[in-house]
Symmetry: C2
């Protein structure tokens, strides 16, 4: 029985977010789908950046935000992701290290710049993302250390990594290693357009029993099952995936696990500022509960509390120590 030194080992895109305010007209003008993520190349990223208002730079990346939440909850987290040998790469590494997260994927040169996500926050607090993947798209299987995977209770993978080839291979390696080591495999669908691009392959993963915990929001679960009822869609996935968690924004979240169903409302908030990271932090709370074996409802509540913190300020990582916010829930 391996020593489970890490609660969660997350594998994802190592990204620095550039967050600016914009109105709906700006999104329309640039052909963006509100609330979605799209990949842009370096030239498009530069064109868009030039048109954007002043930005706040904050470390991001979906799975990296989740593991930041894990650390903020007082659990042990590790991260695997590719940065370049540049200033944004240094910022990413600094920020995740300073949270106490293990991160030692070496920066590489000549693979493009560190990934940036240009995020437009509209007055309704929704975020619309334009990602230049750069170095992050060059994460390769060598970066995944089987010994590290075996030391984790849960390995957490982001669907965004399914787009580029090398990171997809790295994820496959992580899944294979995790199965052998008895490490649970959690996966987030990330974005409904990601689901749309890879629906067949995702179902193959489920059928091959490669996923233990699946995270989706409403748009993602409905796109996955091509079904306009989230409940029915979740049920159809739950036939293949032991635990399915569906987040529903201000309507809270529900989960299906081995015949059990649990549901929580959204946590009350004082003011909605920026929804960036809501799903990532929900996953953090839920995974913390899972790692500690706290049961479905308590894990969902931890998710709801973590998500509520992150949407009340700009940026996708907690600014308040989540451990203190959740109190006895994680005793």
């Amino acid at each position: 029985m391996p020593n489970r030194r890490l609660d969660v080992l997350a594998i994802g895109n190592a990204i620095v977010d550039v967050i600016a305010d914009a109105d709906d007209a700006f999104l329309d003008q640039w052909g963006m789908h509100k609330g979605a993520m799209r990949l842009v190349d370096e030239a498009d990223a530069m064109r868009l950046y030039a048109a954007m208002p002043p930005g706040r730079e904050l470390s991001g990346g979906s799975a990296a935000n989740t593991v930041a939440g894990i650390a903020s909850l007082g659990l042990a987290g590790g991260f695997v992701g590719q940065v370049a040998d540049d200033q944004l790469g240094e910022i990413f590494a600094h920020d995740i290290h300073s949270l106490g997260v293990e991160f030692d994927t070496p920066p590489r040169s000549a693979i493009g710049a560190t990934a940036r996500c240009l995020i437009l926050v509209t007055p309704d607090a929704q975020r619309t993302m334009n990602t230049f993947l750069g170095a992050a798209s060059r994460l390769n299987p060598e970066a995944v250390d089987p010994a590290r995977v075996a030391e984790a209770r849960i390995v957490y993978l982001e669907g965004y990594l399914w787009d580029p080839d090398e990171p997809r291979s790295a994820m496959m390696k992580a899944m294979n290693t995790a199965r052998e080591a008895g490490t649970k495999i959690a996966f987030t669908l990330s974005d409904s357009f990601v689901v749309d691009r890879h629906r067949r392959e995702l179902w193959d993963l489920f059928e091959q029993k490669r996923i233990d915990i699946l995270f989706a929001n409403l748009a993602e679960i409905m796109s996955l099952a091509e079904h306009d009822s989230a409940d029915d869609a979740a049920l159809s996935v739950a036939a293949l995936v032991p635990t399915v968690v569906v987040t529903r924004s201000e309507q809270g979240a529900f989960a299906l696990s081995r015949g059990e169903r649990a549901e929580v409302p959204a946590e009350p908030i004082r003011s909605l500022v920026d929804t960036t990271g809501a799903g990532d932090l929900f996953a953090a709370g839920f995974l913390a509960g899972e790692a500690r074996g706290l049961g479905l409802e308590r894990s969902l509540r931890l998710g709801a509390i973590a998500a509520a913190e992150v949407i009340q300020h700009y940026g996708a990582r907690p600014e308040t120590e989540l451990r203190a916010l959740v109190g006895n829930l994680l005793a």
Copy 2:
């Protein structure tokens, strides 16, 4: 009579701020004076950065913040400052351009990295700054275009530039050019330790009638005059400098100008978050009033409103359009 295309041309350090929360013990441990700025070399900056919590990166630089405020007030601003040919330099240039500020000092390579200011914000919202000047310290006189200076109503210079040699020469050139062109010269003392390092030279500038408008906070004006009464200190400076503006944090501000004295209280705020940029934005409001010839009291009120906006969020530049906040004051 030259065409005054620019209301304010600011010359200062081109800096990206890295803002993180810290407690008083952290400041003590690192030997920092709360509320002050100190210069650090690259090695010290890296050591300190490694020990700091996760950061928010936001464009800063004292005079650059001021001209950001000028633009946010709807006036025409230009900036002169040196960045390197790197990612932080791109961020600095993007942010100031996106505000509509003229900035075309070419980035240079092989002069060190773009300047960073590591800012620790304590729970009392005070900011303590550790500046690695890098490329900013290599601003040289060639960057100051006499034609540009002549097109400005006011040239605004930051005391921080008095430390390194080349920028000091650039400021002297700007002052000489401004005098010839009939451009007003405004100067901010920046920091009481800067004053302490250059007290004699500063008084020489005043005696040579090189400064038309001087900005100081309480600590700076008292250090300048080596006097423990800010009023008396300001009076002694006002004998040589036509307009002296003294900011007093939550006690508001006063100004002395050609025998006249005016005073304003601080603007009410909802919550104090981060005082970074308070003095810079006060200067922006006051200079906007000066550029429009609005008189001492109205200019002070503009300063107080701009300062109040910036201390209610992280970062040293306005997040709300100041033009809308000041309403009829700047009609």
